[in-house]
Amino acid sequence: MKRKILSMALMSTALVASSAYAQDATLTIESWRNDDLSLWQDKIIPAFEAEHPGIKVVFSPSAPAEYNAVLNSKLEAGSAGDLITCRPFDASLALYEGGHLTDLSDLDAMGNFSDVAKSAWQTDDGSASFCVPMASVIHGFIYNKDAFNELGIEVPTTEAEFFAALDKIKEDGTYIPMAMGTNDQWEAATMGYNNIGPNYWKGEEGRQALIKGEQKLTDPQWVAPYATLAKWADYLGDGYEAQTYPDSQNLFTLGRAAIYPAGSWEIAGFNTQADFEMGAFKPPVQNAGDTCYISDHTDIGIGLNAASENQEAARTFLAWVASPEFASIFGNAVPGFFPLSNTPVELEDPLAKEIVGWRDECESTIRSTYQILSRGTPNLENETWGASVAAIKGAETPEALGQQLQDGLASWYAPHQ
């Protein structure tokens, strides 16, 4: 690894030196995705350089946990790369407000993305977009196809069918109906509340209304998901209170559990671990035929360093990142991280294909707590973790939880006061 970094460093200096000669531009990309290093070097960058002979690209990642700190100090010192991989929401917004990222609203290719896709990298009023959306993760349920066939269960589409299926699995007793624990807390909120919730609060409609203060967390559409979560407790394994996230993953991939409330980022790992066939179904709706909503959460974007000397070349690269060609390379290389552009991408992985197909059938939204609402103290996202766990355990009524979250939010967020 160390040698790789060293050789990368040498390579980049060599490239800088030669570019001064040939009047070419060399773009350096800052990123936390060091897992994707070979993907960028072997697939993405050669594909781009073949089309744009004058521009050279160097991918220079740092460790995920250090990325924000490293990036900030590099930006302050003026030594950061030309292109910056963007974390969603406030971390990148702070960079834009600090003058480190360029407004990309005028980039033609931004038209390839929906408003939801762009929302993670916009100012609060949506007037400026500062990163090109790269990928999102989608929530839903992954299930064990063999188990469903064995027990003769149809894939559920409504909530009634969902709970009927769980009942049937429980009755049979061979499988744990659903693999999830509450020990680490975040699964309950991320794979629980924000997974099934959009069907209740009607996705973007409810999320935007909550941000504007038109809806409250005590409204039925925000409380009802907690009531549904409370019913999950019966179907989680024995001792789910102390079950951790890796425990749940292992339970499912070992074939001991039938359903796994999931995020699409699991696909790559599950494909290597599980030796049974897997399928996926989207969060069940309340009545057959209802519009379905999915959490299609924006996760990675890429922006332009305002201090970069290669603005033109960088814009060319960003326009290419926004193109279907990039989307298809990226989407197939990391199944489960879905390209965000409007042009549909043909994915090869069957599970990823199934999940990304939901975009055509359902309305997309992002996790309700991520934009704006988690800026204050108490932090709404963290509070939601605790509330989701309390709902599953039955420690408090859904109404009390809604009230508690609303009080916390109203204590610092003006539109709710």
Partner: protein, 304 residues
């Protein structure tokens, strides 16, 4: 006239330790306390006096968490005092028995967990107690007590006590070693004199040995107090920074960490974090002072 010679060598010999200690302990300590008096508004640091402490103690959002963490911390300390130290003393008394065989083996075996990393201890116990793969449920099952098993680390009412007992398991070697050393230093003549007067066996322990090791027990208590109120690692490793379930294992250390460095979408607030660190410092300082001036000075000592 004779001038008093300045004894430079004292300063020279003290200097390295004083300088290092000042740089790595005293300066950061006071700088942290100073940081607690500021807050950040629009990316500039402004002086606010004791406002952060007022928020910490009187704003319901903060004070509820603070008192919860403090209460949990006292419970954590109480378990150590009631379980760790008596067991440590009992083990030391057994080990110092002259006719005990394999004493060295027991001593090492009991002391080894102390030198293990928190990460290993936390992870190992999480696996042992896991309702899915752990050996605790099957061991209880083997003796027909399966019904007693619960996912302890996941239940609000048991999680903190369970973690305190794991910590006791890890650190029981320290009081054991200190008391063991104190017991070995009791001269044989005193015990023999007692024997002549008819004090043997258990009564020799209660009437002769215990009064002589009281100062060591005092030192152990204060070490336990300081250690417990600075504790953080074990809770963080096994329950994460949110100290679940529902903050039932949240102690001052995890509360401070979460506030200072931030967590998930919550951004770090070094100023409030320093205020919590200041409160922790004050609590430990008061505790140590009570011991030093209230208890240690009144303790009876025996010249051996």
């Amino acid at each position: 006239m004779q001038t008093r010679r300045i004894r430079w060598h004292i300063a020279v010999f003290l200097a390295p330790a004083v300088l290092v200690y000042t740089a790595v302990m005293i300066f950061p300590l006071f700088n942290t306390l100073r940081l607690a008096l500021f807050t950040e508004v629009d990316q500039t640091r402004i002086y606010v006096g004791l406002q952060n402490f007022r928020t910490l103690f009187f704003d319901p959002i903060w004070s509820e968490q603070f008192w919860n963490a403090l209460g949990n911390n006292f419970w954590f300390f109480l378990i150590h005092m009631l379980v760790q130290n008596p067991i440590g003393i009992a083990l030391a008394a057994l080990l110092s028995h002259p006719r005990l065989r394999f004493a060295a083996l027991y001593r090492s075996a009991i002391f080894i967990p102390t030198i293990l990393s928190f990460v290993i201890v936390g992870f190992a116990w999480k696996l042992i107690l896991s309702p899915l793969w752990g050996i605790a449920p099957s061991m209880l099952d083997a003796v027909g007590l399966k019904s007693l098993f619960a996912p302890w680390l996941g239940k609000e009412e048991y999680a903190l006590t369970t973690l305190a007992l794991v910590s006791v398991w890890q650190f029981v070697g320290i009081p054991m070693m200190l008391i063991y050393a104190a017991l070995l230093s009791i001269p044989e003549e005193i015990l023999e004199a007692g024997e002549i007067d008819g004090i043997t066996g258990a009564s020799a322990f209660w009437k002769i040995k215990l009064p002589l090791i009281i100062p060591s027990i005092g030192i152990i208590s204060i070490l336990t107090f300081v250690g417990n109120f600075n504790a953080f690692d074990l809770i963080y490793v096994s329950q994460g920074a949110l100290a679940g379930p529902d903050f039932s294992t949240d102690i001052l250390g995890t509360f401070m960490y979460r506030t200072f460095f931030g967590f998930q979408l919550q951004l770090g607030d070094p100023h409030m974090g320093s205020a919590i660190a200041g409160a922790m410092f004050a609590i430990i300082l008061v505790g140590v002072c009570i011991y030093l001036f209230g208890i240690q000075t009144r303790m009876r000592r025996y010249q051996l």
